[in-house]
């Protein structure tokens, strides 16, 4: 599983990345976290509000700093 955090590197994106790490640990899923900061790449996902969370190339959330609990729910759904 590949998890991407889209965002220009502001504080919100950092928080989302940290929360994602916590959620991944909790679910015990093996995933690689990639931070995407390049606007051109972010654009390609159709995202206008950052930070956004992408799991296996699918945008699952945008414009929100998800809490670990919410990320766990999303992970449960997609796996």
């Amino acid at each position: 599983m590949i998890v991407k955090i889209l965002g220009s590197g502001c504080k919100n994106c950092e928080t989302l990345a940290d929360n994602t790490k916590v959620a991944l640990k909790e679910t015990g899923l093996d995933a690689e976290i990639i931070k995407v900061t390049d606007f051109q790449e972010i654009m390609a996902y159709g995202v206008m509000s950052t930070p956004a969370l992408v799991i296996d190339e699918k945008v699952v959330s945008f414009g929100k700093v998800l809490k670990p609990k919410e990320i766990v729910q999303i992970l449960d759904k997609v796996r």
Binding site: S8, Y45, M48, G63
Partner: protein, 334 residues
């Protein structure tokens, strides 16, 4: 009318808090509020507490409204209109779309890529930080309703005229080409329940307070300093009503600064109390919120220097003009 006046003085101006802090300063600090030290302490405590209370309540209510207008939806709404109507709508939606300076670039790309004229996007980008719903209520609390309404009107007019001018100049070529390169895919806007929206409101209150509390403390601190320690004659020499350069100076000082409108308001308040023209104080506030070095640097990534200079130039001239206008007619608002 009596009920409205009571609501206005107690809930908005928080006179009960004013009196409470007066008692606190007198009995706990042992100082009179009209002494220098007592006055500063009073200004600081009263303003900090008032701003934090108003801010929390307001952000919650406003976030609830904003949850209906994510940028993706705003983009779709704007796409249905053309000409000045689109600019006016962009300026209005700018006041209710959740926005922070770090998301301005993806937003710019999203709007422009969807085929919105760049002038419409700029109308949005000018009004969004400048005319914020929360700032209007705070203006009404610190000054009065007339000033708050005048502020909204000039802010929106500036956004519409600024954006329209940029449209007329046909500057589409000065956007970085990658913005147009590939059509961005549509993503689905998720449906929110009432509980989701309440949750969003709570998150926004926490996130915004966390982001701005320091600016508020610094702003109120500077305000208290101006209010009681800096001699009126000194402020008068630099920013006095009769000095033709006061608005110019206030705007140019404000532009590179990056602060929230909530941190800037107490400074504007203290300046007006010291006899500085209302237009001068508001020009300073608008300069701080509408433009800042970090946001200009961010924009540089998607537009070429010429367009950036035109944008900053139009907004700066607009603010200076508004400053002189309000200084000339401000007596109607007080």
């Amino acid at each position: 009318m009596i009920i409205f006046e009571w609501l206005n003085s107690q809930l908005l101006k928080m006179e009960w808090l004013y009196d409470l802090v007066t008692l606190l300063v007198r009995n706990v600090f042992g100082l009179e509020v009209n002494s220098k030290a007592g006055g500063s302490i009073h200004f600081f405590i009263y303003d900090v507490v008032k701003i934090f209370i108003l801010l929390s309540v307001l952000i919650f209510m406003i976030s609830y409204i904003q949850s209906f207008f994510p940028p993706e939806r705003t983009k779709k709404i704007l796409g249905r209109f053309t000409g000045v109507t689109a600019n006016i709508l962009a300026a209005l939606l700018g006041t209710v779309t959740p926005f922070c300076s770090c998301s301005s670039i993806p937003l710019f790309i999203g709007f422009t890529n969807a085929g919105l004229p760049i002038g419409v996007t700029f109308s949005f980008l000018i009004s969004s930080p400048l005319v914020d719903l929360a700032s209007i209520i705070l203006l009404a609390s610190i000054f009065n309703w007339k000033i708050a309404i005048a502020y909204i009107i000039v802010g929106l007019v500036l956004a519409v005229i600024g954006g329209t001018t940029i449209s007329k100049l046909k500057l589409e070529n000065y956007v970085e080409p990658f913005v147009y390169s590939n059509k961005m895919p549509e993503i689905e806007i998720e449906k929110l329940t009432i509980r989701d929206r309440i949750e969003f409101g709570k998150d926004q209150v926490l996130a915004i307070i966390k982001r701005v509390w320091l600016y508020i403390f610094i702003g109120v601190g500077i305000g208290a300093l101006i209010h009681n320690w800096i001699p009126e004659s000194m402020i008068d020499t630099i920013l006095g009503q009769d000095k033709w350069y006061s608005v110019l100076l206030a705007t140019i000082a404000g532009i590179p600064m990056y602060a929230d409108i909530f941190g800037t308001l107490p400074i504007a308040e203290a300046l007006v109390l010291k006899g500085v023209g209302l237009g001068t104080a508001l020009a300073f506030m608008m300069g701080v919120t509408a433009l800042s070095l970090p946001s200009i640097i961010m924009l540089k990534k998607v537009v070429k220097t010429k367009l950036l200079v035109i944008f900053v130039g139009i907004v700066t001239l607009g603010i200076i003009f508004i400053g002189y206008l309000i200084n000339a007619f401000g007596y109607l608002l007080m």
